[in-house]
């Protein structure tokens, strides 16, 4: 029987919705094939596919430094990291497919510029220290978000997150180790590390999305257990962990208003430049065009390969039938 996605015009919608919300309240996971509101499904497809695209596009800024890694060990670690990102993209596309959307359709939406991916990847990686900084700050921010999503109500997404978080935690440690090493390295290495922190700090804070009062999706996402914390809560957790560690390493943060608040135990940040955030989200970041173009080129140049695979598989099938 085809899966039922409920809409408010269904005669039994309210009854089933109440049942569905009660399950979530009890902490049960919603699984593929269970009844769910169409809006729940739509929000999940949006989030999971964006997340998958982020992994795939995210391979580009870091992948570009594999050929320039300064030691054999760093090179190997970076290849493994970018490979993990490809793997995350793969699980996430599978998780989204459980909601009845195909990988091809999701990719098409990405290449047509209709689907979003994390804006952070629309910033350039200018030096080798960016690799460490992305691991520490960008993966650090992603982990905060993903740890929250690991508790989400949709089973396949939650399980993908558990697995992904474990790998991201490893990347986060490697990134931090690099930046700390360069922070106490030569003058040039220190300068490189500081410059990278200066450029990535604010974009990393923007990764959690707009402030709660400006985030139209948050309310329904929290009620349905897709998000279990708000953007501002997750952002605060990120700052509380990372700001003191960066300062302790002898580096500075590009926020003159940053201060520790004794009363709440929080590190309070200055105003975030949301104009910049929306500019980048809407396609005007430094790398939006290049990133999308790189994906389109890879897809177009791979077309004949995919056709060959299909033709080969079809021939094999015919031979198998003939035998």
């Amino acid at each position: 029987m085809p899966v039922k996605y409920g809409v408010p015009s269904d005669p039994d919608y309210n009854e089933r919705l109440a049942e569905f919300e009660a399950r979530i309240k009890r902490g049960e996971k919603i699984e593929p094939g269970d009844w769910m509101p169409e809006e729940y499904r739509r929000q999940l497809i949006r989030m999971i596919s964006q997340h998958a695209h982020s992994e795939v596009v995210g391979m580009l800024p870091e992948g570009a430094w594999i050929t320039r890694a300064p030691t054999l060990k760093r090179k190997m670690i970076l290849v493994a990291k970018v490979q993990d990102e490809a793997g995350h993209g793969q699980y996430l596309y599978h998780a989204a497919e459980t909601l009845g959307v195909s990988r091809e359709a999701m990719l098409e939406a990405l290449l047509a510029g209709k689907a979003k991916y994390s804006s952070i990847f629309n910033y350039p990686t200018l030096t080798w220290a960016d690799i460490g900084t992305i691991g520490w700050l960008v993966d650090g921010a992603a982990i905060k978000n993903q740890t929250m999503l690991a508790a989400c109500s949709y089973g396949p997404y939650s399980r993908a997150m558990v697995r992904i978080c474990a790998e991201e935690t490893f990347h986060h440690k490697q990134g931090k180790e690099m930046v700390l090493l360069y922070a106490k390295g030569t003058p040039k290495q220190r300068q490189m590390a500081q410059d990278a922190i200066n450029r990535w700090w604010w974009p990393a804070l923007m990764m959690m999305g707009p402030h709660d009062q400006d985030s139209p999706n948050t309310e329904v996402l929290v009620r349905w257990g897709i998000k279990t914390k708000t953007n501002d809560q997750v952002r605060q957790e990120f700052i509380n962990e990372h700001a003191p560690e960066i300062l302790e390493a002898g580096l500075t943060l590009p926020d003159p208003d940053l201060r520790y608040d004794e009363k709440t135990g929080n590190w309070l940040h200055g105003p975030i430049n949301w104009d910049e955030f929306w500019q980048v989200v809407n396609g005007n970041g430094p790398m939006n065009k290049e990133r999308l173009e790189a994906r389109r080129r890879a897809h177009a140049e791979g077309a004949w390969v995919r056709e060959a695979l299909e033709a080969y598989a079809a021939k094999r099938q015919r031979t198998a039938v003939a035998v």
């Binding site: 391979m59 992948g63 594999i66 890694a69 054999l72 290849v79 493994a80 490809a86 995919r306 080969y312």
Partner: protein
């Protein structure tokens, strides 16, 4: 170990490692740009293994002369590198990359199989560590050659074009380096001549089965590893740019 044997072994290990480093460099250029996500993952695996092999070969050299593997990889110029020309060629399209990887993997798998009986124990042990993964590479790239060869007219044409280009270059894998005969006489490394026979037999069968024709005129066949293609200088300029950027840096 006699000093001339030791010198020859150092040179051989360097050539083995350099091949892996440069081939890994070319392979890594695909990361994020592969034709399907699954292949980004598979090729990244192969690249990691090759870097692992390079580390192993440089490590054996280090035991002999105390040289530092990262110094060798990141501070030698094109005059010092001893890779073969096949691995330097630009990555080309997917057919070019898969065919090169196949020709190389077949050579490496056969070489390792023979080298597991090396009389030089550290080498025999190193070979044991990596033989299994090399067999996986070969399975993977062998399957790609078959799929592309038997896929569509276009994939067959592209693969044939790659073969016409690479066949002569691949023969360099079987050209001994100066002094290699000393190593063969001592049973330290396998003799390349019979390996070449086996490689020719396997590759010819597989390529023909995939619907390809071996080039009648193999074209240019490089012999000396002291000289390179015009690409190596640029590869090294890119690869070494971070390591050389800060002369004072001791650790990365």
């Amino acid at each position: 170990m006699r000093s001339e044997v030791r010198e020859a072994l150092i040179a051989k290990l360097t050539a083995l490692a350099d091949d892996e480093v440069i081939l890994a460099h070319r392979g890594s250029e695909w990361t994020g740009h592969g034709p399907i996500l699954e292949e980004d993952i598979a090729l990244a695996n192969i690249v990691q293994d090759e870097l692992g092999h390079a580390t192993l070969w440089y490590g054996l050299r280090q035991q002999l002369d105390g040289s530092d593997p990262d110094q060798l990889a990141f501070f030698r110029d094109a005059y010092g590198y001893r890779c073969c020309e096949l691995v330097e060629l630009p990555k080309g399209d997917w057919a070019f990359t898969m065919l090169r990887q196949y020709l190389y993997d077949l050579y490496e798998a056969l070489w390792l199989e023979a080298a597991q009986h090396s009389t030089y124990k550290p080498l025999a042990e190193a070979v044991q560590k990596i033989m299994r993964e090399e067999r996986f590479h070969l399975q993977h790239t062998q399957a790609w050659v078959e799929r592309l060869g038997q896929g569509t007219d276009e994939s067959n044409r592209r693969l044939q074009q790659a073969l016409d280009m690479q066949w002569g270059y691949a023969q360099q894998l079987f050209v001994p380096i100066p002094g290699e005969e000393l190593l063969v006489a001592e049973g330290i490394v396998p003799d390349l001549l019979p390996l070449r026979e086996r490689w020719l037999e396997h590759s010819t069968r597989h390529l023909q089965n995939a619907g390809l024709k071996l080039p009648i005129n193999p074209g240019y066949q490089p012999t000396s590893r002291a000289y390179h293609t015009e690409h190596l200088w640029s590869i090294l300029a890119e690869m070494q740019s971070t390591a050389r950027w800060d002369a004072e840096a001791k650790v990365w």
